[in-house]
C-alpha cells in the first residue's frame, strides 16, 4: 500500500505502460458491481434533492392552508401528501435531503482536513510535540461522541452551522490517529530521507510527501465518515437539538412523522426510507473504495 501510494504524488510520470495506483484503484472500483450501482443511486438521490425543487413554483416551507394533511396520492398535486400546515412532503424531503447531504459532506471535509494536518504534523515531527498532540487526542477520544455532539450543539445554539461545528469537533480525532500512524511509518522511508538530503524543509516534506501518501487511507476513511455524519445530524435533529425550522432535514421530517404515526405513518416512513437508502448506498460505496484502495484488507 505505502509502496504503491508513493507514486500518487506523480501520477502523470507513471508512463504509458505503467498504471498509476490511483487508476488501478479506480479500475478495481469499477469492477465492483454493487459499489457502482450504489454510486449511481447516490448520484440520482443528489439530482433528486438538488434538481427536484427547481421544478416547483413554491418554496418547501410555503404553507397551503387549502390542502392541509392531504393524504398520500401519487396522482395528485401532492404525490406524498402534505403536513398539518399544507406543506408538500415530497418537496420537503428534497429540501431536507439537501441539508442532510451538505452537512454530511462539509462536516466530513473539515474534520478530515483538521485530522490530516494534526496527525501528519504530530507523526512527522515526533518527540515531545507528538506526545503532547496525541495526549490531547487521547483525552478527547475517551469522551463519548454523543455527549460531545450534544453539548457542543447546545452551546452553539441550533441550526445547521452549529451541527457542522459540533460534528467536526468530535470527528477529527480518528483521522488524526490514522494519519499519524501512516506518517510514522513513512518517516523512516528512503524517499523521505532523500527529500531531506535534497534540502526540502520539514513543511515541504509534510505537504509534498507525507500528506499525499495518506490519500488512499483518507479517501476510504472519509467515505465511511459521511454516512456517520448524516446519521448524527438526523439524530440531533430528531432529538430537537439540531436543525431548526424553517430549515428542514431528514431528521426533522422523521421526528415530525413520528408524532403522527397513528394517523399518517407515511410521513415517517418516506423520509426514513430516503435516509436509509442513502446510508445503504454510501456504505456500499465505502466498502467498494476500501477494497479498491486496499485489496489486501479483504
Amino acid at each position: 500500500m505505502t509502496d504503491a501510494a508513493a507514486d500518487l504524488t506523480a501520477p502523470e510520470e507513471a508512463g504509458a505502460e505503467g498504471v498509476s495506483p490511483l487508476r488501478e484503484a479506480l479500475r478495481r472500483f469499477r469492477a465492483n458491481r454493487a459499489a457502482v450501482a450504489s454510486l449511481i443511486v447516490l448520484v440520482l438521490i443528489v439530482i433528486f434533492c438538488f434538481g427536484g425543487p427547481l421544478l416547483y413554483s413554491y418554496e418547501p416551507d410555503d404553507a397551503n392552508f387549502e390542502a392541509m394533511n392531504a393524504p398520500m396520492d401519487l396522482f395528485s398535486a401532492y404525490p406524498f401528501g402534505t403536513d398539518d400546515l399544507g406543506r408538500d412532503l415530497l418537496l420537503r424531503i428534497m429540501a431536507g435531503g439537501q441539508v442532510s447531504l451538505i452537512i454530511g459532506l462539509v462536516a466530513t471535509l473539515i474534520a478530515v482536513a483538521i485530522g490530516v494536518t494534526w496527525g501528519s504534523v504530530a507523526g512527522f515531527l515526533g518527540g515531545v510535540v507528538d506526545q503532547v498532540m496525541m495526549r490531547i487526542v487521547d483525552v478527547l477520544y475517551g469522551i463519548p461522541y454523543i455527549f460531545q455532539v450534544i453539548l457542543i450543539s447546545m452551546a452553539l445554539g441550533r441550526g445547521s452551522t452549529a451541527v457542522i461545528i459540533a460534528v467536526v469537533l468530535s470527528l477529527w480525532l480518528t483521522p488524526s490517529r490514522i494519519v499519524r500512524a501512516q506518517a510514522i511509518a513513512l518517516r523512516h522511508r528512503e524517499f523521505i530521507e532523500a527529500a531531506r538530503a535534497g534540502g526540502m524543509t520539514k513543511r515541504q516534506i509534510v505537504l509534498k510527501h507525507i500528506i499525499p501518501n495518506c490519500v488512499g487511507v483518507v479517501i476510504v476513511y472519509s467515505s465511511l465518515l459521511i454516512p456517520d455524519v448524516i446519521l448524527s445530524e438526523s439524530l440531533l435533529s430528531f432529538l430537537g437539538l439540531g436543525v431548526q425550522a424553517p430549515e428542514t432535514s431528514w431528521g426533522v421530517l422523521i421526528s415530525e412523522g413520528q408524532a403522527k404515526i397513528e394517523t399518517a405513518p407515511h410521513m415517517l416512513i418516506l423520509p426514513g426510507l430516503a435516509l436509509a437508502l442513502t446510508l445503504f448506498c454510501m456504505n456500499f460505496v465505502a466498502d467498494g473504495l476500501r477494497d479498491a484502495f486496499d485489496p489486501n484488507e479483504r
Binding site: A155, G240, I269, A276, F280
Partner: protein, 305 residues
C-alpha cells in the same frame, strides 16, 4: 496484566476530568438558562434561585465548588425538577435504563451469535444471504426510524404490546429492548460470521477433526470459542452505542430512564442534571471499555503486551 489494568484506570482519570470540565463550561456558555422557561418568573424569584444554586458567583468559584461536590459525589438539586436532588432522579432512572440495556445486550448477543454461526455454516447458501440482507437492513435503518415502525406494526396494527409508556410490566419493555437490540444483532451477526469462517479454516480446527472429534463438538468446544474474540471486543463500543440508543429509545417510548432525562435536561438547561447524567454515563462507558479490554486479554493471549 494487573499493571496494565491499573494503568488503564489511571489513564481514564484525565478523560473523566476533561469530560466534567468541558461539560461544566459548555452548558454555562450555552444560550439560555435553567430559569427562562415558558412561564416568565418574577425577577426576585429568579435572583433567589440563582443564589440558591450559586449561579451569581464568578465562574471560577462555581467551578471549584462543583469539583469539590463531585469528589464527594454530591450533584446537588435538579434545577428543573426542583424538589428532587440529581442523585434521586438518577437513582430512579438508572435502574430502568440498565434493565433495558441488559436485556438488549442479552438479546443481541444470543441472537447475533446464533445468526452469525448459522450463516457461517451455510456459507453462500440462501440462509446466509438472508442473514446478510437482514443484517445490512438492521445497520442502515437508524433506530429512530426503526422504533416508530415497530410501534406501527406491533402496537397499532397488531395490538400485541403498548405503544409507549412504562406501566405495563414486561409488555412495555418488549419494544424498547427489541428496538435497541436490532442494530447490534446485525453487527454481531456479521462479526460472528466473519470470525467463524476464519476460525473454521484454521489449523487447530483441522487438527481437532483429524483426531476424530465429532462435528458438533468441534463447533461448540473449539470453533465458537475462537470466533467469540471479535464479538467480545465489540461489547465495549456497543455499550457506548446502547447509551446513545437509550436517549433515542427512551424519548420515543416515553420511558422514564436517564437517557430521556439527559435529553430533557439538555433542552431545559438543567445544569446540575446534565452534569450528573454526563458523569454517570461517562463513567459507565469508560468502565465497560476497560472490562472489555481485560476480558479480551484473558481470552486472547495474543492481545497481552
Amino acid at each position: 496484566m494487573v499493571l496494565s489494568v491499573l494503568r488503564r484506570m489511571l489513564g481514564s482519570v484525565p478523560t473523566l476530568f476533561a469530560l466534567a470540565t468541558i461539560t461544566f463550561f459548555v452548558i454555562r456558555f450555552a444560550p439560555g438558562g435553567p430559569f427562562d422557561g415558558e412561564k416568565k418568573l418574577p425577577p426576585a424569584l429568579i435572583a433567589r434561585m440563582e443564589a440558591q444554586f450559586h449561579l451569581n458567583e464568578p465562574l471560577w468559584q462555581q467551578y471549584l465548588r462543583f469539583l469539590g461536590d463531585v469528589v464527594r459525589l454530591d450533584f446537588g438539586q435538579s434545577m428543573y425538577y426542583r424538589e428532587y436532588t440529581v442523585t434521586q432522579l438518577i437513582g430512579h432512572g438508572l435502574p430502568i435504563s440498565l434493565q433495558i440495556g441488559l436485556w438488549a445486550t442479552l438479546l443481541y448477543a444470543v441472537a447475533g451469535v446464533t445468526l452469525g454461526v448459522v450463516a457461517a455454516l451455510r456459507r453462500n447458501g440462501p440462509l446466509d444471504n438472508l442473514v446478510s440482507a437482514v443484517a445490512m437492513g438492521g445497520i442502515v435503518v437508524p433506530t429512530f426510524v426503526m422504533a416508530p415502525i415497530l410501534q406501527i406494526v406491533f402496537a397499532l396494527m397488531l395490538s400485541l404490546v403498548p405503544v409507549a409508556g412504562w406501566d405495563n410490566g414486561w409488555r412495555s419493555m418488549v419494544l424498547p429492548v427489541v428496538a435497541m437490540a436490532l442494530p447490534n444483532i446485525a453487527y454481531v451477526a456479521r462479526l460472528t460470521r466473519g470470525a467463524m469462517i476464519e476460525t473454521l479454516r484454521s489449523n487447530y480446527i483441522r487438527t481437532a477433526r483429524a483426531k476424530g472429534v465429532g462435528e458438533w463438538r468441534v463447533l461448540t468446544h473449539h470453533a465458537i470459542r475462537g470466533a467469540m474474540i471479535p464479538v467480545i471486543a465489540y461489547l465495549g463500543p456497543a455499550t457506548a452505542g446502547l447509551i446513545t440508543g437509550s436517549m433515542v429509545i427512551e424519548t420515543i417510548f416515553a420511558v422514564p430512564g436517564i437517557g430521556r432525562y439527559f435529553v430533557e435536561s439538555a433542552i431545559s438547561r438543567d445544569y446540575t442534571m446534565v452534569m450528573g447524567v454526563t458523569l454517570v454515563y461517562g463513567t459507565c462507558i469508560i468502565l465497560f471499555n476497560m472490562v472489555t479490554d481485560v476480558a479480551q486479554m484473558l481470552l486472547d493471549p495474543r492481545s497481552r503486551t
